[in-house]
């Protein structure tokens, strides 16, 4: 934000802040009414004051006029009284006998009435001739006589006052009084005042109303003859300069006039309007100050109030900002009891809840993190583009790269999955999950090829990650490195088998003895020459039958004990049960009877015979342990269609559809209800120490899962237990090669037979020759190689025993291939050494034939090998 916008923003914030709004509101609330009231009252008061002031001015003017009238009346009286003095009357009556000096003293004493302002006292004849004056100065007194006044005085017989008149630099006003004798005027007494008396008199009233108020006096010609605002000065100048009263009346002056009664003069009193309104102005100023004070108080109060109100809000904001910065919930420490305090407390309560939830969430996340970091399963998350966003340590260990290196990388590059069998890349299921939005399992044979070409078997699933709105935001893969597990499972199963075999050994030995008895007996009888051909065939048949039985038994044992994972084949569960019955009987003992029911219809499923036999074996052993004295172990098999409700009841472990159900029930003591939910847990056992591994039923559960099936259990204490095994039914049919008689080979192919067992060599040689083959025999790998080197060109096929002392079959095969990379080798073995066989076949062996073999299988195997 540039500074200008920042300033604008600050201004906007300031204008809209609570403080500003409160200040403005308080100012409006306090000042507006005050201003209106002040304006109205000031106007009213001002008018009142002016009206009162005009009244006071009028009164002051009248008072001044009365004072001046009093002076005039006193002067007139004084003049009249003086004119009546006997000495003066006598002078005018008998002037010849008058004492002029005494008369002059009398005139002087009259002057002492106001010695400062009475300047002369003079006697005149009625004709206006000056007779005697109090003044001894040689002034021209005649000049101040006014004939008109003199005439009036004589005519009226009353004292008269002249107007102000000038004489040189002096101004005078004179009182004329007639001297009467018998009512007739015989002379005139004139008392001359300095006109300064008017100024003296009028200045007494200066300041009457206020310090600046003053009166002036104007005569009948509008000439100013006294001015109360001026100090004494040159009177003549005063009268000349101030003859226009308008000049002294300033526009800002209020005035009122009052006429004098005794003279045609007017008093005008002036007062400054400003001074008159000073109290109003003062009141206005006081109001202003009061308003200012109120405004200040209002501002302070509003600031205080705003601070009081906003402080908790600011604290809320500050705490919220701090909480935002620290990314954690902080409690608001607001003590206020107002709404903000309530809000803060509500927030605090909310925060407590949120904090608890956050703590729980945090703990949950921590637990999840710890769990994710702790679990052995690999968890990998991707975004919607399939780019890696997270990996737990197990995943890091799986791909052998840290998250820091894999983050943002395509999952398909970091985790390239292949089909463990075909080694073909498995399509990226994350894209399918992201697209479909459903949880998908990895193909069962998925494996990861590490950079060093090591292979790891991977299991489990991928699921979409959805946000609260349900939108897919990524994908999470739960992976498990099952390489070791698979190996362990194999070893465990083998161990269990060996355990079972150990248990079966006695029974099997018994069977073998039973089988060997006719073989040995018939063989001895065949050696006798006297035996007939019919008996010879009968005994040979007995030996063959017993041999077949023995071969079947060993085949079962080999199948059961096979270590390598079998491929899923289409199998008929009826056959599995039938084939397993004898072995199971040996395993559980003769005191427990086995009941089987073979339905008429095939019960086909896609499965591993060995593993399914292992299931039956485990269940039989458990049944044996549940029936220590005696009892019955029953196998029932039927086809069933599981609906959705059924699947729901079993936690959707399987999908609805057609299944083959095998019920394995016993009549034993039953399982305690509290143990029912645990029996499939690994290492859970109720058996005494050393008697059970706790892995039997867990293995059953795992195998059923691998077969996309399910196992459930029902048990009643004292009545027995039923295991329900659900195998997905398949519509595929079993590939069966018809047992047709072998064809004779063309020509006489030569076969090098390498086997350390002489009997096997002899019988096999006889069988081969019976089939039309020429046979070279070697009793060891070394000898076989030597013979091959000699007869390489003659030998068409080599039958190589896998298990031999000194040089075993694999080494021999390798050496033979070195001699002739195109040598045709058929592997034979009494062991189901599938791994080794597979390796040899991959290396170029032409096939494998399981011992013991009979004529037809041998012929077929040879035919296939030679034609390959």
């Amino acid at each position: 934000m540039n500074p200008k916008n920042k300033k604008k923003g600050q201004l906007y914030t300031l204008i809209h802040s609570i403080k500003t709004q409160l200040v403005v509101a308080m100012l409006l609330a306090t000042l507006l009414p005050l201003a209106i009231a002040t304006l109205l009252s000031s106007q009213t008061i001002g008018d009142e004051v002016l009206a009162t002031g005009r009244l006071a001015l009028t009164s002051a003017a009248q008072q001044t006029a009365q004072g001046l009238d009093a002076f005039v009346e006193m002067g007139l009286y004084h003049g009249t009284a003086s004119a009546a003095l006997p000495e003066i009357v006598h002078y005018f009556s008998e002037p010849e006998t008058a004492d002029i000096q005494a008369l002059r003293e009398i005139l002087k004493s009259i002057q002492k009435q106001n010695p400062v302002f009475i300047r002369h006292t003079t006697l005149f004849t009625p004709a206006g001739d000056l007779l005697v004056s109090s003044s001894s100065e040689g002034m021209n007194i005649d000049h101040i006589c006014l004939p008109e006044t003199l005439v009036n005085t004589l005519e009226t017989g009353q004292s008269q006052l002249t107007s102000v008149h000038l004489d040189d630099d002096q101004a005078f006003l004179c009182f004329y009084s007639p001297v009467l004798k018998n009512g007739e005027p015989i002379g005139i007494v004139r008392i001359s005042y300095s006109a300064a008396i008017l100024q003296q008199l009028i200045t007494r009233y200066t300041g009457l109303l206020d310090a600046a108020s003053f009166p002036i006096l104007i005569d009948d010609t509008q000439r100013q003859i006294a001015n109360g605002v001026l100090p004494h000065g040159n009177l003549k100048q005063l009268y000349i300069q101030h003859n226009d009263p308008a000049k002294t009346s300033k526009p800002a002056l209020l005035s009122a006039s009052a006429p004098m009664k005794t003279m045609p003069w007017t008093v005008i009193f002036f007062q400054s309007e400003e001074v008159l309104l000073a109290p109003v102005r003062q009141q206005q100023m006081q109001s202003l100050f009061l308003g200012g004070g109120l405004a200040l108080v209002a501002i302070l109060a509003s600031f205080w109030l705003a601070k009081r109100l906003t402080k908790p809000i600011q604290e809320l904001t500050k705490t919220a900002q701090q909480a935002t910065q620290e990314m954690r919930l902080l409690p608001f420490h607001i003590q206020s009891k107002n709404e903000v305090g309530t809000l803060a407390r509500s927030f605090n309560r909310l925060f407590e809840v949120l904090s608890t939830q956050q703590k729980e969430l945090s703990e949950s996340e921590e637990n999840l993190r710890i769990t994710l970091n702790s679990i052995g399963d690999c968890v990998i998350t991707t975004d919607t583009e399939g780019l890696i966003t997270g990996m737990n340590p197990a995943a890091e260990a799986l791909v052998e790269q840290p998250l820091s290196e894999t983050k943002g990388q395509p999952l398909s590059e970091i985790l390239p999955l292949f089909d463990s069998k075909t080694k073909e890349p498995i399509h990226d299921i994350t894209q399918e999950v992201l697209t479909s939005g459903i949880t998908l399992n990895l193909p069962p044979k998925a494996s990861l090829i590490l950079p060093d070409n090591r292979e790891k078997f991977i299991a489990d699933s991928a699921a979409p990650i959805r946000n609260p709105e349900g939108k897919i935001t990524g994908c999470v893969l739960a992976l498990r490195d099952i390489t070791e597990k698979q190996q362990l499972e194999v070893r465990l199963a083998q161990s269990q088998k060996m355990d079972a075999l150990g248990q079966m050994a006695g029974g099997i030995a018994h069977d073998f003895n039973n089988m060997l008895t006719p073989i040995l007996g018939a063989s001895q009888l065949l050696e006798k020459e006297e035996i007939s051909l019919e008996d010879r065939k009968k005994f040979a048949k007995m030996i063959s039958t017993a041999g077949h039985r023995a071969a079947g038994l060993t085949q079962q044992m080999l199948t059961f004990s096979r270590k390598a994972p079998s491929s899923m084949d289409v199998i008929d569960l009826r056959d599995i049960i039938d084939e397993s019955r004898a072995m199971l009987q040996h395993a559980i003992g003769s005191n427990i009877s086995i009941r089987t029911q073979r339905p008429l219809h095939p019960m086909m499923t896609l499965g591993d015979t060995s593993q399914i036999q292992n299931i039956f074996f485990n269940l039989a052993l458990n049944a044996r342990d549940a029936m220590p004295q005696h009892g019955t172990l029953s196998f029932q098999i039927k086809r069933i269609h599981l609906n959705a409700e059924h699947c729901r009841l079993h936690s959707h472990e399987i999908e609805p559809g057609p299944y083959v159900e095998v019920q394995v029930s016993d009549t034993g003591e039953g399982i305690d209800p509290e143990n029912l939910t645990k029996i499939f847990d690994p290492f859970f056992t109720t058996k005494d120490a050393g008697k059970g591994t706790g892995l039997g039923l867990a293995s059953v559960y795992g195998v059923m899962k691998k077969h996309n099936g399910m196992v459930s259990v029902y048990s009643e204490k004292g009545r027995g237990t039923v295991f329900h095994l659900y195998f997905p039914e398949t519509q595929k049919t079993k590939n069966e090669i018809p047992d047709t008689p072998p064809e004779k080979p063309k020509g006489s192919p030569k076969i090098l037979l390498i086997d350390d067992d002489e009997t096997v060599r002899s019988v096999t040689t006889a069988l081969l020759e019976n089939l039309g083959y020429k046979v070279l025999c070697a009793k060891s790998g070394t000898e076989g190689i030597d013979l091959y080197k000699i007869h390489q060109q003659e030998i068409d096929l080599i039958m190589l025993d896998l298990v031999m002392p000194e040089m075993n079959g694999e080494e021999t095969f390798s050496n033979l291939r070195k001699i002739d990379p195109d040598a045709t080798v058929l592997i034979i073995s009494g062991f189901d050494a599938e791994e080794s066989v597979a390796g040899l076949i991959e290396a170029g062996a032409a096939g494998f034939l399981q011992k013991p073999f009979q004529l037809n299988p041998l012929a077929k195997a040879l035919q296939r090998a030679l034609s390959a």
């Binding site: 002492k112 010695p115 400062v116 302002f117 002096q170 300095s194 007494r204 003053f214 100090p231 004494h232």
Partner: protein
């Protein structure tokens, strides 16, 4: 006219005037005819506070040596006196002034109870006092044992009084701690002494001092003037900036009034002038007097327009109303400025030393006891009548009334009246009141300085008062009302002075 007849005529005239039977003009004629023009002048001189409600402090505050306190020498003395004087009664007449009222209260409280001496004290306006004294001395009635004498009367009545010199020598009647030498010497010389004879004991001492408004001076950045030029410029500055609300100065310039004359002598003396020079020759129209009068006219331009109507009361009221920034007048008025009942300038008035005179003519170059000084004094004294029948009791009372303790108490109770003794100016009771408030004594340090160093005293001769009041005041009145020039005014005054001296 015989002396007795003259005095009887004057006394009767005064009584008639008091009773309204004759006008003041007639009385003046009588006084003039009786050769007691000076007495007439004092009729306007009741400048003291008799014309207004006196301030009386409600609390009497006796000092440590007060006769009020049993065990003190004064108490014992008055008690002892009672053996010979109890039952006696003395009569006294004085002007009705606050200190006199206070002292009279103390008599009832202290003097009479201790001594048994009854005191009949008449408190009268000054003209009546004069009438009483005139009557008593004229008729040899001996009705009063003690007289109140204005400084202007001392020559007139000195012979009618017992000289305190003799009485001060009587040890059996000596008031304990009285200390006559504690009384300010200038007062003894100028108020109580006539032609080198001690006629009375100084009683009070109104004297012109400088008073100003501290707030206005502060506002305008002024300082109390120390010279006459500064005084004038200060007044002009204030007038220019604050008139008509406040003028530079105010004055007791009632045209034709003695007050105008008193003010005139202040400026006259301050300009080095005097009324008389050596050998009784008038010097009132010399250059110094001209300069002084011109100075006054310049000052008039800094005063309210009505000042030519005002005596000292109106002058004081104008200052109390806040109309003036500085003026020179009687210090007795100062306490009133600190009293909210009479003043609008409470706490704002201050006193200052009078400005330095431009020149000062020494008394030796003057005549009739005229002593130039910028601080015009108008004191009074108490004297024992030669005709008294109770002179001893009167002397005891006179000592008690003019003792340090009583004068301090009377001053305080009288609202800060001026004091006649040096020691009393430093009395803790006086000093403690040097603060703003009614009855303040804040002005007394300046008053004491004025008495001791700057005091001016009028000439004393029989025609002086007439000259001052009937001639000088009138001429000066005409001058200040611009009826006549300075030249003409001083010429008239000099002529009148010459006539007064020669008549």
């Amino acid at each position: 006219m015989k002396e007795t007849q003259r005095r009887e005529t004057l006394a009767k005239g005064l009584n008639d005037h008091r009773a309204g039977r004759i006008s003041r003009r007639t009385l003046l004629k009588l006084l003039a005819a009786g050769g007691l023009a000076g007495a007439g002048a004092t009729l306007w001189r009741n400048r003291s506070l008799s014309s207004r409600a006196p301030f009386l402090a409600p609390i009497d505050e006796p000092g440590p040596n007060s006769a009020m306190i049993p065990g003190t020498d004064a108490h014992a003395f008055l008690r002892g006196i009672s053996k010979g004087f109890s039952g006696k009664k003395i009569r006294i007449v004085t002007e009705d002034t606050p200190p006199s009222q206070a002292t009279r209260q103390l008599i009832q409280k202290e003097f009479t109870p201790l001594t048994g001496i009854e005191v009949d004290w008449e408190l009268l306006p000054l003209d009546q006092v004069l009438a009483k004294v005139l009557s008593d001395t004229t008729r040899h009635a001996g009705a009063f044992d003690l007289f109140y004498l204005d400084q202007a009367w001392i020559g007139e009545f000195c012979e009618a009084c017992e000289s305190p010199t003799d009485w001060l020598k009587k040890p059996d009647l000596a008031y304990p701690g009285y200390r006559f030498d504690d009384i300010l010497e200038p007062l003894i010389q100028n108020i109580s002494t006539y032609e080198n004879k001690l006629c009375s004991i100084p009683y009070d001492i109104p004297i012109i001092i400088t008073m100003y408004r501290r707030d206005i001076f502060d506002q305008l950045g002024l300082r109390p003037p120390t010279t006459l030029d500064e005084w004038l410029s200060t007044c002009q500055t204030v007038t220019k900036k604050m008139a008509p609300q406040v003028f530079g100065s105010t004055a007791q310039w009632r045209a034709g009034h003695y007050a105008l004359h008193c003010n005139m002598t202040t400026w006259l003396w301050a300009h080095g002038g005097s009324v008389f020079g050596r050998n009784g020759n008038p010097t009132i129209n010399d250059d110094r007097a001209h300069e002084a009068m011109e100075y006054m006219l310049k000052l008039s331009e800094t005063m309210p327009p009505g000042v030519t109507n005002w005596d000292w009361h109106e002058e004081s009221r104008s200052f109390a109303r806040g109309q003036a920034a500085i003026y020179a007048s009687w210090g007795e008025f100062f306490p009133a400025y600190d009293d909210p009942k009479t003043s609008d300038v409470v706490g704002l008035a201050e006193t200052a030393r009078a400005p330095i005179e431009k020149a000062l003519r020494p008394p030796s170059e003057c005549s009739f006891g005229e002593t130039p000084g910028i601080c015009h004094q108008g004191g009074s004294s108490l004297a024992i009548s030669r005709l008294s029948q109770n002179k001893d009791a009167a002397w005891v009372f006179l000592q008690w009334a003019t003792s340090a303790d009583v004068t301090v108490r009377a001053s305080i109770m009288g609202g800060g009246a001026s004091l006649i003794r040096k020691s009393t100016y430093h009395d803790p009771r006086i000093k403690s009141r040097e603060r703003v408030g009614p009855g303040t004594t804040r002005h007394l340090p300046v008053t004491l300085d004025a008495i001791l160093n700057r005091m001016g005293t009028e000439p004393h001769f029989p025609g002086w008062e007439k000259l001052a009041t009937q001639s000088f005041s009138v001429e000066l009145g005409r001058m200040i009302t611009r009826q006549q020039s300075v030249e003409k005014t001083l010429t008239h005054m000099a002529r009148a002075a010459e006539q007064a001296v020669s008549s």
